[in-house]
Amino acid sequence: MKEKSNNLKIFLNGLITENPTFVQLLGMCPTLAVTTSLKNGIGMGLSATAVLIASNALISLLRKIIPDKVRIAAYIVIIAAFVTIIEMLLNAYLPSLAASLGIFIPLIVVNCIILARAESFASKNTVGKSIIDGLGMGLGFTVALSIISGIREFFGAGTLFDIKIYADIITPPSIIIMAPGGFIVLGIIVAAINYITSKRKAGDN
């Protein structure tokens, strides 16, 4: 039973307690730029999750073989290989999503989350745990991206999943979709999370 709860803890750790976007504030580049529409946010989140799980698994598999001196270079090669594979498959079989994700597919390689998880978790734990951690962190990232992109798309473009909600009635403030909107919306969400956790902590003791 202990093994089970431990894995669950790792998974929840990635999803909530150490959510890569809201708590650790990693992977900021794609988080701020791609979350202009819910479709993009989820697309980016899922492709990053796929790469995260695959690279975590392979890196923890090879952790004994990779010499420590070239540790970072080796991890990045593995991550870059997975990203290029996903990029090719996306371009071949899902061209519409590939068009909208633009330059951000190659930038998944330097997405801090993947390298951070590779270095701080996958290189020290077994394959099974690393996969769960990859899944947890990946879903945490996807959930975070969807929340941010949902808010930005709803307030900034008046649509949700490209379905018009109030876009024709009043012209929505498109600043929220643009660059500054990303920073401000994320800042407010993190502040809200701090507020909730501090309220919950005050409630506990």
Binding site: L25, V70, A73, V77, C112, E119, S120
Partner: protein, 265 residues
Amino acid sequence: MSISVILYPVLIVGAIGLIFGCLLAFASIVFKVDTDEREELIVSELPGANCGACGYAGCSAYAAAIVNDGAPVNACSVGKDAVAEKIADIMGVSAEAVEPKVARVMCMGTHDVSIDKYEYHGISDCAAAARLAGGAKGCPNGCLGLGNCVSVCKFGAISIVNGVAVIDENKCTACGMCINKCPKHIIKFIPKKNKVWVPCSNNEKGAITKQYCSVGCLGCKMCEKVCPVGAVKVTDNFASIDFSLCINCGECAQKCPKNVIKTDL
């Protein structure tokens, strides 16, 4: 799928990998720098996210700061307490038992004992005044008394008495905000156990110091001669005490001709 389509990529990417592999291995041998092994231990404990939330530029910088200049062990916001405990065991210091210290202002040149170069009617901000020929005070290292440290102190421990900042020992929590804020850099941390210190940092020759301050240290080295444990040294014309050696005997304070050295015995 002719062979060359596969062979060339393998050769190119493989060759780059090989070159960098050998280069890095070669470099790690030739450029071996003997770092404190505790540093590596700490780096392996830290999450390795290099996010910089601890205020240092990444995990290895934070580890170096812990080992070399005693940075707090619990600054890692990602690892939180779990990481803090592990680092504390490595460093063999308990997470909180950091040596208590207090901030003190190294100047006593109040208006009645010191002369000003000119009358300053600008914005009441030390940094602004310091830009005008080092501030109104005659002494180049004296406290300008315009209260930057007071405004930044969240604990209300500092007050301006007759033109010089004074820090209340009991309220001071050694947070260090005033130290960064003072443009003259004359607020220093002194361990609480030390009751003797030199409240002056004037680095000009005694003859010149006398012209604008009657409680300024003239660098006469009387204290250096009389100190039983050799804790006092006069460096660039003002005395400074090595607080690890000082035994609070107060000899230097009695012998000082201008009784500049302050004691709290």
